[in-house]
């Protein structure tokens, strides 16, 4: 089965949409793809339109939790350390690898050359 394409427009003149764009940019900067971010955000919202339109006590609680999550995310993003890439790391680079990559580096070109 083919993937479904979901496209939305977000405009920086709209406050909420601008903040959404900032959140998107921050998570992308942290190394996540748009697909991962949107999937995680939708999962956090709950399971499908029938739940979110009922606005029962559970759904409202979930929404409140989501608000908390977003608030916490904004606070984290305000800290410089939170802007460092979040990544899955499994080991230190070996000296052979580092030396090889170093050798692959080319001389820079600048305006003053």
């Amino acid at each position: 089965m083919a993937s479904e394409i979901i496209a939305v427009r977000l405009h920086p003149d709209n406050d909420n949409e601008r903040r959404a764009l900032e959140v998107l940019a921050s998570w992308e900067q942290a190394g996540y793809s748009r697909r991962q971010i949107v999937t995680a955000a939708l999962l956090a919202l709950g399971a499908g339109p029938q739940r979110t339109t009922q606005f029962d006590a559970t759904a409202l609680q979930q929404l409140e939790e989501l608000r908390e999550l977003i608030r916490g995310l904004y606070e984290r993003l305000a800290e410089p350390s939170a802007r460092e890439p979040i990544s899955r790391t499994v080991g230190e680079l070996t000296p052979t690898f580092v030396e090889s990559v170093k050798r692959a580096a080319r001389p820079p070109m600048t305006l003053s050359d």
């Binding site: 993937s3 793809s33 499994v90 052979t96 090889s100 692959a104 820079p108 305006l111």
Partner: protein
């Protein structure tokens, strides 16, 4: 050196760019416009014709998908002929206008095919300088004061090997083994061998002038010939349709599923046989490699056929299939972070 770093891959078919916070990809096509044509488009769009219509250092251009629609008058340069300010520089300026909202000083980390290494000075000259861009009712300037380069397959390799910080592995299974990175782009296919321990083997890095564009053209031609009625009024198949067709032999469109195994196999085989022959004669076959890493947008289009052709037990993708065209710039950003850490840029 500038704090803003842009990684740019001016592919023959798709241009890709990445900064710390944004990624963009657009059709690598450009056409210079007359002042009258440009003003007509701007007026029709009430001053905001979108990112494809721009004035670079005073000259009006159309780039990307909008330029590709005017194929007859298109300026499409391939290989090292692209490395001129009026082509590479303009496409770089278009990329800068899409990734940065503010003017500023920029360092460029640009990729090129391994065989273009001798032309990297031309690339540098084409990019260095100030790019004044008017687009969508806004005027901004970027001063590209620093340029460095890396080979495209190296970007694919770094994307799969390095973590986001560029200072750790995100997987170590490739590091201890020998690997071959194959980068299938629009018009070229490049490869680069990696020795056990991660040493890059530049003696076994090369390119051939064949890519996914040839496969798509051949497939569309034969599929259209066999389904004229269904495709009446359809200009081009979508990338998703093509990817599914070339990988599964089935194409969905117009609410139906078309079986196109023969067209897909025939179109893919011309390219795959050329790649197989080249790898055999220039690299010495695949048995010596513990892993084969596929990168570039063409590899995603042909993932299943190329896996069958390679017949190798450990074929890895440099990124998710739908993002494989971005693997080289993503890996380029990781490599830049490693270079920064090592103090070599």
């Amino acid at each position: 050196m500038a704090n803003n770093v842009i990684v740019f891959d001016c592919g023959n078919s798709i241009a890709k760019a990445k900064t710390a916070g944004r990624e963009v990809a657009f059709v690598s096509a450009l056409r210079e416009l007359t002042e009258a044509d440009y003003m007509r488009v701007v007026e029709r769009a009430q001053g905001r014709p979108g990112p494809d219509y721009l004035r670079v250092n005073g000259k009006p251009y159309v780039v990307g998908e909008s330029a590709a629609r005017h194929a007859a008058r298109l300026t499409r340069r391939t290989g090292a002929a692209r490395y001129e300010p009026d082509y590479y520089g303009v496409l770089l300026a278009a990329a800068l206008s899409r990734v940065y909202r503010q003017s500023g000083e920029v360092a460029l980390f640009a990729s090129h095919a391994p065989r273009d290494l001798e032309y990297r000075r031309d690339l540098g000259r084409a990019a260095l300088g100030t790019w004044h861009v008017e687009v969508d009712g806004q005027e901004r300037s970027w001063r590209v004061s620093y340029v460095n380069t890396f080979e495209e397959p190296l970007g694919g390799l770094m994307n799969i090997v390095l973590a986001e910080d560029g200072q750790h592995y995100q997987r170590t299974d490739i590091n201890g083994a020998s690997a071959l990175v194959i980068d299938i782009g629009g018009y070229t296919t490049d490869w680069l061998a990696v020795k056990p321990g991660g040493e890059l083997d530049y003696e076994r890095a090369d390119s051939i002038s064949a890519g996914i564009t040839d496969v798509i053209r051949d497939f569309e031609r034969s599929f259209r010939a066999n389904n004229r009625e269904a495709l009446k009024g359809t200009e081009a198949l979508t990338p998703e349709q093509l990817r599914e067709a070339l990988n599964t032999g089935r194409l969905r469109g117009g609410g139906r599923v078309y079986h196109c195994e023969n067209e897909a196999t025939e179109a893919a085989n011309i390219l795959l046989n050329r790649i197989a022959d080249s790898l055999q004669s220039l690299v010495g076959g695949l048995f010596q490699f513990n892993a084969i890493i596929l990168t570039g947008g063409g590899s995603a289009m042909l993932e299943q056929p190329i896996r069958r052709m390679l017949g190798h037990g450990n074929v890895l993708l440099a990124d998710e299939p739908q993002d494989l065209h971005l693997a080289n710039v993503r890996g380029g950003m990781k490599l830049w972070r490693l270079y920064e850490h090592l103090g070599v840029v």
